[in-house]
């Protein structure tokens, strides 16, 4: 690849120029001379690995944190926002994941929340009209009931309220911080529609994300950050490839399969943990998977899919309503975490500061906290673990004289996480559960965490990793169980997957309901099998299926990823024809209709397999499918 030169500044003055921004939290240098320039009417991608400083830079610009050094020029004039309110006054708004909405107020009140602080009487009639105008301008007039309490809204709707709120303030720069982390593909498309309209209005948008395919779909140019510095500034997205971006973000080529082992045949390995139809309302509905000795299994899906809650149920932090957990073949229902710990299970929760670290304890006592609960005596029994502690410290690259440091909070996020993982490794667990193990961990430490997990698995532990970072799952895990809306919907081998397919599987069932209905109708009318599949050169990935017994059975179920040759309809799958294709022998005939969203995003194929010689009209079916998908998006 040839590094494209930074865009030469031609005509209009930039909207915002940030130069040489420094910011230090405690001892962590989050930003070291970061630069950014934004123009009106562009969607600007701000990229970087976790801990690269993109969120901190966004928060500096939007006034949420104050910079230590550096200059920000807004429309050519120096800007020094002391807080978010001043930045909003200037026209800069940030839309975060943890929304700043008041859950007990209505949508309307939230949109005009800043105006509630103004003196004088509120005129709700006028506000209502303005809210309608704003939503109209976004093309979302019907998406938001103005009188509903925000508490009752979906995450995507809340985001829309935030955007409307920003527009009510007439913001000319809107920063989206990982806006798609909890959205289904359909909701992402709708968000992109809104962003496109905002750009057409001449506003500047910053899109912070690490999902590269989204960056390519929506941004005009990108700025890449690494370790607190800007490494590439305002490069047109069109001149870059995905691997260029990865290299810029990471600073090197990441060998993806570095920490992954080939998946062994399931029968070859000892089953350690079996989960069958686990239900723990409201988040966990029907989860099944098997975890083997020496394996790293991924639990993928969107935020809110019930993955964390599944781990909590296995660890005894959440009471299952029904279903079965078997550990080493025996029924296992931990009522409290200590039961799980003594059975050989360790759990690294997602929120390190809130759920793992005891801030008033020394590093040593934090490390020994799992031991403390497993320990049955009256005393502490710390001494008995001294040797193992020393071994672990060597493995973690932590100097032993820091063991007695009074607070873990002085360490980097990565080191904190290594200590928390070591808390469980100390007990030599048979099963290790980890929830987002590299969240807030710098890129360098990430690989050492992967190495630690791989090492634990090689010693025979069964490791279960929850992550929203599909790249991470694909690089670390042999197999991935995909969860959606509290249900495990597919168990896939990483070898055959990529991020795009994983994203399609992870879409919430609720957003697929229209499609499922279509499949049921088609299957019912024709007496055949209707299904939604993705295809690549070798395999078929079945997202959903309805109907089809006997001759009409296409040979795969929802969540299955067979080779094309192993299905019962290989001829049709290879043909890519616009009509029904009969398999040799004539027992069944298959029609495939290619589907895409109205933004042109490939969504795979809708297939219909019917038995014998019955031939519904292919054109009519294709038309119905296309209409349905246009509506669903």
């Amino acid at each position: 690849m040839v590094m494209p030169a930074p865009r030469v500044d031609a005509a209009p003055a930039p909207l915002l120029v940030a130069r040489g921004i420094d910011k230090t939290f405690d001892r962590t240098r989050a930003l070291i001379g970061a630069d950014l320039r934004l123009d009106a009417g562009e969607v600007h991608g701000l990229l970087g690995a976790n801990g690269a400083g993109k969120s901190t830079l966004s928060r500096v610009i939007s006034g949420h944190v104050r910079r230590d050094r550096g200059e920000i020029a807004w429309r050519g004039i120096a800007l020094d926002a002391r807080n978010a309110r001043e930045a909003i006054g200037a026209g800069i708004v940030m839309v975060t994941q943890e929304t700043s909405l008041a859950p007990d107020l209505s949508v309307l009140e939230n949109i005009f929340l800043p105006e509630l602080a103004l003196p004088g009487r509120l005129r709700y009639g006028a506000l209502r009209q303005r809210a309608r105008d704003i939503l109209n301008s976004l093309g979302q007039e019907s998406a938001l009931p103005l009188d509903m309490e925000v508490r009752a809204l979906s995450i995507a709707q809340r985001q829309l309220v935030e955007i409307a709120k920003a527009l009510a303030q007439d913001a000319s720069l809107i920063i989206f911080d990982e806006p798609t982390a909890s959205l289904s593909p359909g909701e992402v498309e709708r968000l992109f529609d809104v962003m496109t309209r905002l750009r057409a209005d001449g506003r500047a948008l910053v899109f912070v994300s690490h999902r590269l395919e989204e960056v390519f779909a929506i941004t005009d140019c990108v700025t890449v950050m690494r370790e607190g510095r800007t490494v590439t500034q305002s490069v047109p997205t069109a001149t870059l490839t995905q691997s260029d971006l990865v290299r810029l973000m990471v600073g090197q080529d990441l060998a993806r399969a570095q920490y992954r082992r080939a998946a062994a045949a399931a029968g070859d390995r000892t089953r350690v943990l079996e989960v069958r139809h686990l239900r723990a309302a409201p988040m966990v509905r029907d989860v099944s998977f098997t975890l083997h000795e020496g394996e790293i299994l991924g639990l993928g899906g969107l935020v809110g899919a019930g993955r964390s809650e599944t781990l909590e149920a296995i660890f005894g932090l959440r009471r299952p309503d029904s279903g079965e957990i078997r550990l080493h073949g025996r029924q296992f229902t931990p009522r409290r975490p200590v039961a799980a710990i003594r059975a050989g299970i360790g759990f690294v929760p997602e929120d390190r500061r809130g759920q793992s670290i005891v801030p008033d304890f020394s590093v040593r006592e934090n490390l020994l906290l799992g031991h403390l609960s497993a320990h049955r005596g009256f005393g502490l029994g710390y001494r008995a673990r001294d040797r193992r502690v020393a071994d672990l410290l060597r493995q973690l690259d932590l100097r032993s004289d820091r063991l007695l440091d009074v607070s873990m909070l002085n360490f980097s996020g990565g080191m904190q996480q290594k200590i928390i993982i070591a808390r469980w490794l100390l007990l030599e667990p048979r099963v290790l559960l980890l929830d987002e193990p590299t969240k807030g961990v710098d890129i360098g430490t990430r690989s050492s965490i992967y190495a630690i997990l791989r090492d634990a698995a090689d010693r025979g532990a069964a490791v279960l990793v929850v992550s929203s970072d599909f790249e991470e799952l694909l690089g670390l895990c042999e197999r991935i169980v995909v969860m959606s809306d509290g249900t495990s919907i597919a168990e896939l081998e990483s070898d055959v997957l990529d991020e795009t397919k994983l994203t399609m599987f992870a879409a919430p069932r609720s957003s697929m309901e229209i499609t499922s209905q279509l499949l049921r109708t088609l299957a019912g009318e024709t007496g055949g099998a209707a299904y939604w599949v993705l295809l690549d050169s070798e395999r078929l990935f079945c997202l959903a299926r309805a109907g089809g017994d006997g001759d009409a059975d296409p040979g795969f179920a929802a969540g299955a990823t067979p080779r094309i040759g192993d299905t019962r309809i290989p001829t049709a799958l290879a043909a890519d024809a616009g009509h029904f294709v009969a398999e040799p022998g004539g027992a069944r005939r298959t029609l495939l209709v290619r589907v895409q969203s109205h933004r042109g995003h490939e969504l795979g194929w809708i297939g219909l397999t019917v038995a014998g010689t019955s031939t519904p009209d292919p054109a009519a079916i294709a038309q119905r499918v296309h209409e349905q998908f246009a509506r669903a998006a």
Binding site: R336, P337, V338, G370, L372, H375
Partner: protein
């Protein structure tokens, strides 16, 4: 890699390291008060007065142990004073009929039971300890009046006086009890699973729960200890004055909280030490005693103690480098 020895002398480094320890800072403060009072009043250093100081520390000191346990978990126990009064009345009613040991047992068990009640409500249902123990405080005092018939009980066996004035190695038994209880509590909090769990709960209850510690049991235990120790303090108080007043222990909770806070504990929980509390108790008693010796009006003593509490907390906040969430 060798440790480079740069900068200040080892002695200075030692002082700085000691200075990081809360107890050491508090001990320094206590010494300052001690020396100051010795200089200000010629009577202060007399043996009688020093013994008197320890004697005056017993009731507040024992109650403050329980208060330390509760505050370490992030809670507070406002009921100690009325639990002391109520359990002392129960003891006074029991003793004439069933003897001294039975009276003591009734007091300690009922104190513990009241603590169990408060602790369970706080830990199991997540009620605010301030509110629960405020309610128990009112109930306890009211029951003390009802059971005592609103009168002081003075027909208690005089032999109970031995609990206070038996000499053990030259130390009066009530002071010895105080010291033994402090040593036991210090050992428990520093070197046992339960003690460390209490600290962990106060520092981050969610982390303690997720790490598998028994958060419910060790959140309740401090209240039980606090109730039982309030009863113990009540026993020693009654034994000393050979009379039981249903008003006994009124406003004691304020002294106990003050001692714990002066001793450096954080009201958010997780931070503090039993040694610090002992020093806190001594500082308070010394100041009371010194003000008396100096002839300061008792009405001014409240202002003095109050000022010291606020100053202690302020200094601790300024010295403490960590920022709490």
């Amino acid at each position: 890699m060798s440790q480079a020895t740069l900068g200040p002398s080892p002695a200075a480094a030692l002082i700085r390291r000691l200075g990081r320890r809360l107890e050491v800072r508090m001990l320094a403060l206590a010494s300052v008060v001690f020396v100051g009072l010795s200089l200000a009043s010629p009577f202060f250093l007399q043996t009688n007065n020093l013994l008197n100081l320890l004697d005056q520390s017993v009731v507040t000191g024992i109650v403050s142990i329980g208060m330390t346990f509760v505050i370490l978990t992030g809670g507070i126990d406002l009921s100690v004073g009325s639990v002391l009064g109520f359990t002392a009345v129960l003891m006074g009613l029991t003793m004439p009929h069933y003897g001294i040991p039975a009276g003591i047992a009734v007091a300690v068990v009922s104190g513990g039971a009241i603590g169990l009640f408060s602790g369970f409500l706080v830990a199991r249902f997540g009620l605010a300890s301030f509110v629960v123990t405020l309610g128990v405080m009112a109930i306890g005092r009211s029951l003390a009046y009802i059971t005592s018939g609103q009168n002081s009980i003075s027909d208690i066996p005089p032999a109970i006086n031995n609990l206070v004035y038996t000499s053990i190695l030259g130390v009066p038994s009530n002071v010895a009890t105080l010291l033994v209880l402090y040593v036991l509590s210090w050992l428990y909090l520093s070197f046992t699973k339960g003690g460390r769990t209490i600290y962990a709960i106060g520092s981050n209850a969610e982390a303690a729960r997720t790490a598998g510690l028994n958060v419910l049991a060790y959140s309740v235990l401090p209240y039980v200890i606090s109730g039982a120790l309030s009863a113990v303090a009540g026993i020693l108080l009654s034994a000393q004055i050979l009379s039981i007043d249903p008003l006994a222990g009124t406003a004691l909770e304020l002294d106990a909280i003050a001692a714990v806070v002066i001793g450096g504990a954080s009201l958010y929980g997780g931070r503090g030490s039993i040694i610090g509390t002992l020093i806190g108790v001594l500082i308070m008693v010394m100041i009371r005693n010194g003000l008396n010796l100096l002839g300061v009006s008792p009405f001014w003593q409240g202002s003095a103690i109050g000022g010291i509490i606020i100053a202690a907390v302020l200094v601790e906040r300024l010295v403490s480098t960590r920022v709490r969430a």
